[in-house]
């Protein structure tokens, strides 16, 4: 039920409400005219936001200390992905302590909904959602990102090292 206030001068007459609205608009116009730096607008191409690491942007395949891909091709991310956009082909690694690694790891960014399920499913912190927002492309651009793009793209500066590394795990006897 709504409470109806009646009778006092302020709201039975429209003018005060209109004036207070316009007042705000003018206040901001004056502020923006003279205080350009405080203006809210982000002039996109020149200024860019730096998003926090928590931002679920485009994927990053982490690497081990020696630079090789941390992913062990266990397909858990591909299973957990609601959009089925990850395809992995595993093969045998010649070093018996590694044993399995992906020779092909592709994410179809046009199918990916950036929900972060793959990040949660990964047991070895091999895939992360980086802080860069999703890069658009003209029709025909390559939207299927492979290992080179996901792990070694230029602005990753040589790859992000995975937190969970195998050597410590084996040394600790787990």
């Amino acid at each position: 039920m709504s409470i109806v206030k009646r009778g006092n001068l302020k709201n039975s007459w429209y003018l005060p409400a209109i004036l207070s609205g316009l007042g705000i608009t003018f206040k901001n116009m004056i502020l923006n005219l003279f205080g350009k730096r405080k203006m809210l607008t982000l002039n996109y191409p020149e200024e860019k936001y730096e998003y926090s690491p928590r931002f679920k942007g485009s994927h990053v395949l982490t690497v081990k200390k020696d630079g090789s891909i941390r992913c062990t091709a266990c397909m858990l991310c591909a299973t957990n992905c609601p959009a089925d956009c990850i395809t992995i082909i595993a093969s045998e690694h010649d070093d018996p302590s590694v044993e399995k690694y992906p020779i092909a790891y592709e994410i179809d960014t046009l199918r990916c909904v950036y929900c972060g399920f793959c990040e949660e499913a990964c047991p070895v912190d091999a895939i992360r959602m980086g802080p860069e927002w999703q890069m658009p492309g003209i029709n025909g651009a390559n939207f299927v990102h492979d290992i080179r793009q996901l792990a070694k793209r230029p602005n990753l500066k040589g790859g992000v090292v995975s937190v969970l590394d195998e050597e410590e795990r084996h040394k600790a006897g787990i």
Partner: protein, 493 residues
């Protein structure tokens, strides 16, 4: 028939069954690793503990024989606790290999931990490190760290193949499964140890890292490898077929299958299949759709004198297809020259003592009966005489689906060249085949039907994933070659 109370339910069981069988037959969940119905009892995993009234200590169910009036439960608190702890003992030295282990998804440790374990582990000490990725020949990779020493594989090589290749070396928690000085484990039933291994200690090289198990579906069918007709499970998804595993079949192959049969999924995959019909037109062979090619062929041989048409059949197709062939084409077109191509018939008798028979066609008995019934049995030498004499205008060869065992294929090809027009029907391309028509056929995994094995037992096969959807089954071919349309129901669709 002794009566037993299992978890409160009164059950009647046959004499002398083991308690664990009584549990499993009545869908009662009981944790177990080392017990396998096809092998002897080892009683080493100590998981199938049950409490029997009047017995102070919990007993293992796999070694106790059912007595009348026994009251047994495995749901009491102490038993649940005991199963939790014994599972914990299994897992404390188990490596954290699930991401790279092929068995993940069908691993007993995972399943039984979720069913019975669900404890929070307290083991903080260093695990025992053992040898990883040990190469045991061309078929099997061994990982001794994952092994839980349930000794199923050792008992398999002792009792089933009697080759005694596997054994447990060293003592205590440094014990390892393995062969003597890592000699290859390559008897013809070696990959069965991969199926019975509850964990990922023994994995098959053929399936290594190919596909994750939870992406595959499976259906039961009959192995077309030889006339024993073992019942098998094929694992597939829309990309193709990935592996074959034995299915339990009481009187035929029990729990086992031979390794040669395990490779009989590769010929059904797209890479090895004949996708289009190859028709030798005047300007070099051109590709056509199978149905269209058959119709074209039907028009061509319409006018031919039916006496000059010869048909060679192999025993690799189903009964229904043979019936359709005879009733739709051979009978109406009154073709008499029908020959059953038996390769190395004299060796058909020998048998390797376990499952593999030398007659490498799954349905040669079914074909034989049908030809006898339709009185179309002709001697093979008759065909050779006609071919020499050049009387055969058109030779339709219903070729073998699995060509690996037809080692006399090349000289038969030379023989068949003598006919004026050679029509070849097979699911896979044939090496240096010169034929006017080569029509792709469905493999045994893509059609329903029945095979008759060596002892006359009829066994069903099921249609699974269509790899080459346009390929014809023999009955489709019979309809088309006889000038009819394939009926909508599709006898053997």
């Amino acid at each position: 028939m002794p009566k037993v109370h299992i978890n409160g339910k009164e059950i009647e069981v046959a004499e002398g069954t083991r308690l664990i069988d009584a549990f499993l037959q009545n869908q009662e969940e009981i944790a177990h690793y080392c017990y396998h119905p096809g092998l002897s009892v080892a009683g080493v995993c100590r998981l199938c503990m049950v409490e029997i009234e009047g017995n102070p200590r919990p007993q293992i169910a796999c070694n106790t024989i059912v007595q009348d009036g026994m009251k047994v439960t495995n749901k009491s608190e102490s038993i649940k606790e005991s199963v939790k702890w014994v599972l914990d003992f299994h897992l404390i030295n188990h490596p954290l290999d699930c991401p790279i282990c092929d068995q993940a998804g069908e691993c007993e440790l995972q399943e039984q931990y979720m069913k019975f374990g669900q404890y929070d582990p307290e083991m903080g000490e260093r695990k025992v490190k053992k040898r990883k990725v040990v190469d045991l020949g061309s078929k099997i990779v061994l990982d001794t760290e994952r092994c839980i020493l349930c000794s199923r594989c050792v008992r398999f090589t002792d009792e089933v193949t009697k080759t005694k290749e596997l054994g447990i070396f060293n003592r205590g928690d440094h014990a390892e499964i393995g062969t003597f000085e890592d000699k290859p484990l390559n008897n013809n039933y070696a990959v069965n140890t991969v199926d019975i291994c509850p964990v990922g200690a023994l994995t098959s090289k053929d399936f290594r890292f190919k596909q994750r198990v939870w992406y595959l579906q499976d259906k039961e069918t009959i192995c077309p490898g030889c006339s024993t007709g073992c019942s098998v499970k094929a694992y597939y998804n829309e990309k193709g077929y990935f592996r074959l595993k034995p299915a339990f079949n009481e009187d035929n192959n029990g729990y086992w299958m031979c390794d040669e049969g395990r490779a009989l999924y590769r010929h059904a995959n797209k890479e090895e299949r004949l996708l289009q019909a190859q028709v030798k037109a005047d300007d070099g062979s051109s590709h056509m759709a199978p149905g269209a090619a058959t119709k074209k062929l039907a028009a061509e041989i319409q006018g031919l004198d039916k006496q000059k048409v010869a048909v060679v059949v192999t025993g690799q197709y189903t009964n229904e297809e043979y019936d359709q062939l005879i009733s739709e084409w051979l009978k109406p077109a009154a073709i008499q020259q029908v020959y059953h191509w038996k390769n190395k018939e004299d060796e058909w008798g020998d048998f390797d003592g376990l499952l593999l028979r030398r007659d490498r066609n799954p349905n040669s008995k079914g074909l034989q009966d049908r030809l006898q019934k339709a009185s179309l049995v002709n001697d093979w030498s008759q065909l050779e005489k006609n071919l020499e004499a050049g009387q055969v205008d058109c030779l339709v060869v219903i070729g073998p689906e699995i060509q690996a065992y037809y080692d006399d294929m090349q000289d038969k090809l030379k023989l068949f060249q003598k006919a004026k027009k050679v029509i070849w029907l097979s699911s896979n391309p044939v090496e240096n085949l010169v034929a006017d028509y080569h029509i792709p056929m469905k493999t045994y995994l893509e059609k329903d039907g029945t095979f008759v094995n060596y002892s006359g037992k009829e066994q069903k096969i099921q249609k699974m994933q269509n790899i080459v959807s346009q390929a014809l089954s023999l009955s489709d071919f019979a309809y088309l070659i006889a000038g009819k349309e394939i009926p909508l129901t599709g006898a053997a669709s």
